[in-house]
């Protein structure tokens, strides 16, 4: 089995993934930018847009490009898997072993990948049509609790923090958009619009969340997750849509990044079967997510993710080896 994905489903998967990843990073994982988080998302989008333009137009394929990209997507997927596990632990009253909580998400992603890339992408496409309806319902029912005053001071922790957050966002975008480097069909778009759109959606979601919960000076990961899922005002009947939005969003993100990692692995080791690559990626993500160092990754390593992948992309382009790039046949 060869892991393949067409351009259209890849774009849908990347869009769903980037909105979820930026929201996870800016609101739950590392809310260091406070009220300025939405600006960080937009800055991240603007930083990552040229990279997106380059890979969609020139489509580099060399090992120098594929190997770091796949590895980076794998490490980021492990962070997402860790978030899924902690969220499941929160909902399961913390009475289940973390491995038990990890495995269902890993198996679901594996099953999805074994249906190949278009299944991952089209599932995300369906999700991008369902999620806004769910979100609209939740937002309308909570409308009277939104407090725009809580978005001020508008720059939150200030420009240095916003820019640092923007660089981190660019790193998360690269991981979420790794899947866009995989399509080999003729249809290809030399555009950076999906990145900007994804960043814009994430910025909007961040603004909505900060209008429900005021800028906090403390609180741990689970506290922030609690504030996200029920935010202290949501009646019990509203918590299900919020939980569905959170878990389904994370699941599509996980499937997207794991598929990118598996497909990159198969591009490097062409003799490996796609199903085996997917299995290896899931196993590695599970193993990585259980390593404590990942909690530090969200803050520290993500700052360098964009710079590292951007550099290898440029080096790959400059190397110009045979098969290093595939020109677009047409664009829409």
């Amino acid at each position: 089995m060869t892991l393949l994905i067409s351009h259209r489903p890849a774009r849908a998967a990347a869009l769903a993934a980037v909105a979820a990843r930026l929201f996870q990073g800016l609101v739950v994982d590392a809310p260091t930018t406070q009220n300025g988080a939405w600006l960080s998302a937009l800055i991240g989008g603007m930083l990552a847009a040229p990279w997106m333009f380059v890979i969609s137009k020139y489509r580099p394929r060399g090992a120098l490009f594929i190997a770091p990209l796949g590895l980076y997507a794998l490490v980021d997927s492990a962070c997402v898997l860790a978030a899924v596990t902690r969220s499941a632990g929160y909902l399961a009253l913390d009475r289940s072993a973390s491995l038990v909580l990890l495995i269902p998400a890993g198996l679901a992603a594996l099953w999805c990948m074994w249906r190949n890339g278009d299944a991952v992408g089209y599932a995300a496409m369906i999700w991008t049509r369902i999620a806004p309806a769910l979100l609209l319902g939740v937002a309308l029912l909570q409308w009277r609790y939104f407090r725009p005053e809580w978005l001020r001071p508008v720059l939150g922790a200030g420009w240095p923090s916003i820019i640092e957050g923007g660089v981190r966002c660019a790193g998360w975008i690269v991981a979420a958009f790794a899947i866009m480097a995989l399509p080999e069909d003729e249809e290809c778009v030399s555009s950076f619009l999906p990145v900007l759109l994804g960043a814009g959606i994430a910025a909007g979601l961040t603004l909505l969340q900060f209008m429900l919960v005021p800028t906090q000076l403390g609180g741990g990961w689970l506290n922030r997750l609690d504030a996200l899922l029920c935010n202290g005002r949501t009646p019990l009947y509203l918590q299900l849509p919020m939980i569905v939005l959170w878990f389904a969003g994370l699941f599509h993100l996980l499937a997207c990044e794991l598929f990118a990692a598996s497909a990159c692995l198969q591009r490097l080791l062409t003799k490996l079967d796609g199903k085996l690559c997917a299995l290896l990626a899931v196993a590695e993500a599970i193993a990585l997510s259980r390593v404590g160092v990942l909690s530090a990754y969200g803050i520290a390593l993500s700052r360098w993710g964009f710079a590292a992948i951007g550099t290898t992309t440029l080096l790959s382009m400059l190397a110009g080896k045979k098969g290093g790039k595939i020109p677009c046949a047409k664009s829409d």
Partner: protein, 373 residues
């Protein structure tokens, strides 16, 4: 055929939605409706839980439905220990996801590290933080034990309907525990809580908190509890209280109430809020001015002179409420959020020293009343 099989398979998967672990039967759960926190004389923290019995009690077993609810208490050195002891004391799996009311005794709320306790409670897994937040005079346990169903048959709906009613009248704030938790740790204003007391004779200090013109004074009620005002917080602890009338005016400034009764020259008027109540903060040379603009209407007969007097009286009453809060250093009105808008970063906002300036701020109120008839 294959698609039909797949649909049938997915439909069967819905059977797994109840989970694949040990099922949580309703009868195996102890749903806590009210949770109270007290500080005992020996320094221990006491938790009290009001839990409904599953099914109806037998005839004659309960008086006014009181037998349908049980009260459990347990104490410990700190909150985690007390919660653990309470779980041990409760003969079923304690479920905190349906709490309607969180009650803290006033003595505890006035302790310096009360904010830490609020955070610990809020971070309890699956505790329903949307519950209303009450500070009660005396012991929280006595307050909770006095709680019975009076009009309704279920305590949960009784609590909700009762507090919604009082909040709509404006005599108490619509204070949620989550709001208290968020505001205690935020950079904005201060939270408020509902003030309550166990029902006692009319001469009790609790009832004397209600202003002389309060419509609840001298009322006879079978209720075992009274809710009559707001508890004010500053820097994580309770620092003062507003009576029912002051709470009504506070709710008017916050924009949480649509109509209030107001007395002037021995006559009572019903005033309805027109549009939004405007709260502004002006930063002046080193100081600050707070301004409230309220537009009201009334269907009562009111001549121009009466309207002018009514406006003056209400302006003074609003200023008095703000001044009272300034005196104790509490800011429940939402001025801080507006003042924060003058700054671009949190550091600049913190450096502004809002609290010191708020205490000294000039207060301006503008009330206009018209009779559309």
């Amino acid at each position: 055929m294959r698609k039909i099989g797949l649909i049938a398979l997915l439909a069967c998967a819905a059977l797994l939605l109840c989970g694949c672990g040990v099922s949580g039967e309703v009868e195996n759960q102890a749903y806590v409706l009210v949770l109270g926190v007290d500080r005992l004389d020996d320094g221990q923290l006491e938790l009290t839980a009001r839990i409904p019995k599953i099914g109806k009690s037998k005839a004659g077993e309960s008086g006014e439905g009181g037998g349908d609810y049980l009260t459990f208490s347990a104490s410990g050195g700190d909150y985690p220990q007390a919660l653990d002891a309470l779980e041990q004391a409760t003969p079923r799996q304690m479920n905190l996801s349906h709490i309607e009311l969180l009650v803290a005794s006033e003595a505890l709320a006035r302790e310096a590290d009360f904010a830490t306790l609020v955070s610990q409670i809020a971070e309890t897994p699956h505790l329903y933080t949307t519950a209303r937040f009450v500070v009660c005079e005396g012991r929280a346990r006595d307050f909770i034990e006095a709680q019975e169903t009076v009009i309704g048959t279920r305590l949960s709906s009784e609590i909700n309907a009762m507090l919604e009613h009082y909040a709509q009248r404006g005599t108490i704030p619509d204070a949620r525990f989550a709001d208290a938790h968020y505001l205690l740790g935020s950079v904005y204003g201060d939270p408020v809580a509902i003030l309550g007391a166990t029902a006692r004779p009319a001469e009790s200090p609790a009832l004397s908190l209600i202003g002389p013109s309060s419509p609840t004074e001298g009322v006879s009620s079978p209720m075992g509890q009274r809710f009559f005002g707001s508890a004010l917080f500053r820097e994580g602890r309770m620092v003062g209280a507003l009576d029912a009338r002051q709470s009504m005016l506070m709710n008017l400034i916050r924009g949480d109430v649509r109509a209030i009764p107001f007395e002037c020259d021995g006559r009572s008027y019903t005033l309805t809020v027109e549009g939004r109540v405007k709260r502004e903060v002006r930063l002046e040379d080193g100081g600050m001015a707070l301004r409230v603009t309220v537009r009201l209407s009334t269907l009562d007969d009111v001549c121009n002179e009466d309207a002018a007097r009514l406006e003056d009286d209400l302006e003074i009453a609003l200023r008095d409420v703000i001044n009272e809060c300034q005196r104790v250093g509490a800011e429940p009105f939402g001025f801080a959020e507006r003042a924060a808008g003058h700054f671009t970063t949190l550091d600049a906002w913190r450096a502004f020293d809002w609290r010191a300036k708020y205490a000294q701020a000039q207060v301006e109120t503008e009330v206009s009343i018209r009779n559309p008839a």
